[in-house]
Amino acid sequence: MAVHTFESEHEATSTGLPNTKLAMWLFLASDCLLFGALISAYVLYRGSSLVGPYPSDVFDIPYTSVSSFVLLASSLTMVLALASIQRGEIGRMRVWLLATALLGMTFVGGQVYEFTTFNREGLTLSTNLFGTTFYVLTGFHGTHVGVGILMLLTLVSLSFTGRITPRDTMAVELVGLYWHFVDIVWIVIFTVVYLIPTGK
């Protein structure tokens, strides 16, 4: 059986993969079904609302496209953060992690603004099936982004107290895996919810 040693863990595992990484992959696989169920509910009820406002009444595609671009750009900064710590450059890592968190916050801020606008235009959780499924699906995703931001800021803080050192690349890699996953899910949500027209 192959036995590998990892510089950050000093422990051999049966597969050679670190435990934390395997656990994160399994969690993300499990999370796929969480979003799968939510997206299914949205698709199932597409066009079933009995009263307005309907998606075409409230969506501002250019606005959401920009905020989507912001979120996707944060995947790039996340990769740069990981590359920095792998080269041992803690300072640069902090900068890129903060940039990632900032882009994430911009996205969530945009989502909050979008929600309040829709709300003003008469779409609430209980208005119709569109409001019900839209807010819960995108809200779940927004919460995921929020948790990711919390983890990014935690990494930055811990790097100042010496708990994240150039040897702890795995911690950054794990947060990165989560962050990219949340970004990829948004591509699906943006396509299904915003880009595919519903008719009414």
Partner: protein, 632 residues
Amino acid sequence: MATVSVPAEGGRGGLLRRPTATTGFWSWITTVDHKRIGILYGITAFAFFLIGGIEALFIRLQLAQPNGTVLSASTYNEFFTMHGVTMIFLVVMPLSAAFFNYFIPLQIGARDVAFPRLNAFTYWAFLAGGLFIYSGFFLGGAPNGGWFGYAPLSTVEPGNNMLFYALGLLMTGIASTASAMNLAVTIVNMRAPGMTMFRMPVFMWMALVVQLLLAFALPIITVGLFEMLFDRRFGTHFFDPAAGGDPVLWQHMFWLFGHPEVYILVLPAMGIVSEVLPVFARKPLFGYQFVVFSGIAIGFIGFGVWAHHMFAVGLGPVANTAFGISTMIIAVPTGVKIFNWLGTLWKGDIRFTTPMLFSIAFIAQFVVGGLSGVTHAVVPADYQQTDTYYIVAHFHYVLFGGAIFGLFSGIYYWWPKVFGRMLNERIGKLQFWLMVIGFNLTFGPMHILGLQGMPRRIQTYPATLGLGVWNLVATIGAFIIATSVLIFLLSAIASFRRPKDATADPWDARTLEWSVSSPPPVYNFEEIPVVHSLDELWHRKYAEREGGVVVPVPAGGAGTDPSRGPGSAGQDGHGAGGHAIHLPGQSYFPFVAALGLPLIGYGVIFHLWIAVVGAVVLLVGVYGWAIEPASE
């Protein structure tokens, strides 16, 4: 990681110093030892088993005679709902988790699970969820809409009853999901050198399949429960037909989780039986690969049969036919296992010990439950049976006659390993026979009641229907079961009044957990074992001469001598090689983090500020966990 971390002593001081108590109350609150967590799971699940059993007794008292008046209709609704919720989510799942926690590291040759603190968190979150659901009884009403929580009954009925259901199950779901990640990684990644996947005991394979089923089935019910919660509490319309919503969506989500859940409940018992039979038949398991691959096949097909719970909903002939066929197909791998177990017994040198008796009863009763299950796959027959006591009879043969009997087999089999004491065999056999008689007397007649047309979930029935006789028989059977459980409880307590008498390997068993003392030392293995074959311990003890004659390996020969028993390993944590064994440090924070969950739950029901407090407690727990010294 787990086995190399050093408990921080005299390291960083102050608030974040890791607890070091090894005895007493705080040692249990802060423990991260998989064996102690297993015991906590087991005791808690058994306590819930007694509560759920008492609820069942009240239900049987109410139904013993026509026009029963023991329980009011609303109390009856709470009792049958809580009986189901308790037995499924708070008994069979955590009792299986108890065995997983205790024996996964021991059977694969590891010193702990991959994430010891996460392991502790899963126990506390499970306990929090269970107590949260039960607190409904004191806070305006326990769940009363059935364990399946069908919408729109669960979303429109007044009262907070089903909020306790949704929130409590979300908490136990968090516990099970985290546990699934932890244990799956442990099995895949922490096997001893030489312990390839196909040298693992079958129980480990079943454990792995169950963890993957949990990982992929629980998110679906999580979303369903959130949607139910939002419908009730925040005015959404997921399952509200008046706004265009579809209650059948809940049924799909529930059963897309609920059917894999059936295998989550029964595969652990199948794993236990696959361990017990070879030991007491003194033969290797017949067709190991077939048993393993059947388990995997059940795991996969289990996701493709959910709509057989919904034949009467009106999905149409095509869907019903498809799910009827897939349901018949899943009977095939299950049947393969039955024949493998029979093949294991065939020409075996059988010892009829208590664990063996429970395993044999498992096979017989599970066959009955499986066969009545196949009759449900025939759609027109199912139209007649659905929502009758025939269904109740069927799933109790699977989950009680199957899962609970299998778990009792495991309790008797592993009791000496866990507590270092043997259970009295004569009392054990008495308990076994009482339970077999009581069980069949209770649930056998329900087949007849169901075919006579007695509907499920009714609070009472008129005398003119002629259902009284078999209902009375069922009630008598239920009290025989209760007597047998009481006898087990007394036998268990009595075992603690005797000195520790169990040797390391009292059953002459085959797997690694029997190679260490009973109970095992805190670090499990003095030296991590090197594995050369399936049934490793057996091959260390016995060799096969020409002509298939099995002879014991002389003491001091190929492997560990089991008769050395307790004390053979250094008890101070220093192995023979003179190197210290580092164990993961204890922690307060899993408990703190889990404490936040019910507070958030109460906040959602009663007042936002309680939820805010809960969120703060949760964050304190998580951040304390993240930054306390000597991380695992």
